[in-house]
Subunit: 123 residues, 4 copies
Amino acid sequence: MMKEPQLMKKNLKGLKIKLREFARDRDWDKFHSPKNLSMALNVEASELLEIFQWITEEESLNLSDDKLNDARDEIGDILNYTVRLADRLGIDPLEAAFDKVEKNHEKYPVEKSRGVSKKYTEL
Amino acid sequence: MMKEPQLMKKNLKGLKIKLREFARDRDWDKFHSPKNLSMALNVEASELLEIFQWITEEESLNLSDDKLNDARDEIGDILNYTVRLADRLGIDPLEAAFDKVEKNHEKYPVEKSRGVSKKYTEL
Amino acid sequence: MMKEPQLMKKNLKGLKIKLREFARDRDWDKFHSPKNLSMALNVEASELLEIFQWITEEESLNLSDDKLNDARDEIGDILNYTVRLADRLGIDPLEAAFDKVEKNHEKYPVEKSRGVSKKYTEL
Amino acid sequence: MMKEPQLMKKNLKGLKIKLREFARDRDWDKFHSPKNLSMALNVEASELLEIFQWITEEESLNLSDDKLNDARDEIGDILNYTVRLADRLGIDPLEAAFDKVEKNHEKYPVEKSRGVSKKYTEL
């Protein structure tokens, strides 16, 4: 009878449920086509980019508390839209991520890619 | 003595560890400044956008198997760079996402935002 | 002796000069590496994307005056960063654009691509 | 009677005409909603970003001939989509760009912004 505690688990599945409810309560499913969500995801990813655009790589490793909080907010947005979009497409984002790491193991063999930032097509 | 099984858990923490090892094995930490990772994240988010750019919203809800597989790959890449970037900034992406949902509850009250796609600044 | 009127011409060359002066007067050349400018360009392109993210394609053809003004501002920013980045790379953006149209004539032959939105690699 | 040479002028107006003809010949106007074009523009801007993602700012000022040619192609694409999108919205991109420089003169007064990369809201 009590399903809520299960749903509230702080993992990606719990987040997926939370985001479904958030959209349903606001009647937003009609806006949440994968096409539109892919746009929203890019907008958020770009707001993260904005934080780093004029600073050096070294400075990006030593953000002020304010900037770090901004980055945290954007990372939250990005994860939310990624999970929401994956849900609308019926994709498990965690499985997709682990599978992609496996593929990258083959595309970027350690001996060929050590210390080199080239794309696999150029290795 | 046996720590591996714990690390291999299929959750965001396990993914974080896997990505750390992947970068360390290739001596890629020097490329993985938050600045650079925010660029890589945007590149992947845009590859997802490319899948949807010329199709309708409705078509985006009914992708072919090929396109769905492409989307799955990109979602994997996006989650990987999000987790990797968060790790480099010392941010817990899941906590950030749940906190952002809470903030959005306040920015988008149900009664004001039902069926409306306006930004909270315009509500 | 009088070169200014020539420089102020409202074309891409005049714009290039204006942007050079703008950066020089503020000692901003040090921030304007092609890497950073490519980030700024993406940030602006994404602010344009934000205008269209939740509306339909049809609505995007009938923007309100406010939204149209927002779009105009973003298009201005995008053109400015494109011209500025091209200048820093020693590229003529107009020549690059005309050349790209020529290439696309070959990649997308009329008979194969009529009414079809497929990428040239899929034609 | 002979209007073609005028149309072929290598300026933004000539480019706009060329892009109109390109789309019309392929029956692509139906795909070219401002919403879709804003997505395509972001995809191209991100392909430019990809060139710079793992290199340093200094390296971005000294691209190899191959990378410079890649960047040139992407800048061509970006300008083409900017001009095409502006055309579909009835906006003159050059006027928009010059107007935006004027606005930025006010947002970033020389004395306040010299040598500083802060956003105008933080000045």
